[in-house]
Symmetry: C2
Subunit: 241 residues, 2 copies
């Protein structure tokens, strides 16, 4: 049977063999929720970069650029890290550069994977359907918070583990723990994570609306996939089977 593992931090990624795996990158609050929402709402592609400098360079070359550090929009950029920033009709058909505290670093760290797709609650069922047809082992990579474990990414990893039980087994305690936590939390994700460290950080920034939205399952039927350094909409029909 195919395997699903969960990696709780990009700092642990070197312990996994990525080359033959599909890696699902997860940064629920908020990078991968932004990417999912943006690609679903018509952004043509998103170029994830690790540093503010690289992002600035792409902006100077004429791209719109989103940048967040420590939960806040970085100065001098066009977009922050709210999914609503990325659901703007004016972005339709455009290519956007993006850098965030954790999410885009995680994508960068996983670049040796066979394939990288983007996961969030917003595209949970679509992603589960797609992954269930894949022939390769999976690794769910939680972006975490500056290298540390975080709860919301773990719960999403657990949602994948639990929803893929028929197709993938886990040997890893991280997958087991994530699954147990998800089952405990799933009836009310918002209240379960209301004491989490990142939610407390974000509450101070007055973005409860973002948090609520990022925890809503199945708002969009897209899967962002990394191709040639750009996140684009996966052509699901041709990738199934």
């Amino acid at each position: 049977m195919k395997k699903i593992d969960v990696c709780f931090s990009p700092e642990l990624l070197h312990l996994y063999d990525l080359q033959h795996r599909v890696v699902v990158v997860v940064d629920i609050l908020r990078a991968t929720s932004c990417i999912t929402a943006g690609i679903a709402c018509g952004i043509k592609s998103i170029i994830p970069v690790a540093s503010l400098d690289e992002c600035k360079k792409l902006q100077q070359q004429g791209l719109l650029a989103g940048a967040e550090r420590d939960g806040k929009k970085a100065e001098g950029f066009d977009l922050g890290n709210s999914p609503f920033d990325y659901m703007d009709d004016r972005l339709r058909g455009k290519t956007i550069a993006m850098t965030t505290t954790n999410g885009t670093q995680a994508i960068e760290g996983a670049k040796n994977a066979y394939q990288i797709v983007i996961g969030s609650f917003l595209n949970l069922s679509t992603l589960v359907n797609f992954l269930s047809t894949q022939e390769r082992d999976l690794l769910v990579l939680c972006a975490g918070w500056k290298g540390k474990f975080n709860l919301e990414d773990t719960l999403f990893a657990g949602a994948l583990v639990e929803n893929l039980l028929e197709h993938f087994e886990s040997e890893d305690d991280a997958a087991l723990a994530a699954g147990k936590l998800y089952l405990l939390a799933k009836s009310d994700l918002l209240s379960f994570i209301s004491n989490s460290s990142h939610v407390n950080r974000l509450k101070r920034l007055n973005i409860e609306k973002d948090i609520e939205f990022c925890l809503k399952p199945d708002q969009f039927e897209v899967i962002p996939i990394l191709q040639n350094g750009q996140l684009i909409k996966l052509d699901i029909v041709n990738h199934l089977g």
Copy 2:
């Protein structure tokens, strides 16, 4: 209020400031259970070393030496990594050298801490009583398995978090998750971890008896503490208050 954090892997230890903290090193299956049992049963001191070579050298200098790699006793050493090995009357008053796959590496990694103590279910209540009187922040360091998250160490970390709620608060999602998992598991730890990766590894080695023992709370009223590179029995009375 003082803080308690949980670090799920020695690979994440660089993300924490250790200098001013008391670090509890945890390797339930089985290094810190062995150390607790051994010190309780009269071993005078245990010298934890990271490599087989160092352990061999100490053995050649005349010490008894315990060594485990991948769950098995390493060839040419006197003791393996079963707590029953360390509860032998013939070890009373002796100094033992010890190296294991994960536990002694974790101790080595935490050496910059203000203080290092050893935790296991076997000395849970004694440890909780002692820690509750400490004036410094705590870090619970899970030894994990070769750098990866593991369930049994996490459950013990959660037991500390939950039992120290009156004295320590956590800002960390890892502490929150460990606490939730412990509450879920505590009525029957053995069956909760029966599907964990390490238990499956150990089952293949026929050491169910060790596993059962290592999950038993409060068998001993000792706290091993690291002093000058040696784990000795903490003089609890003089350290309280």
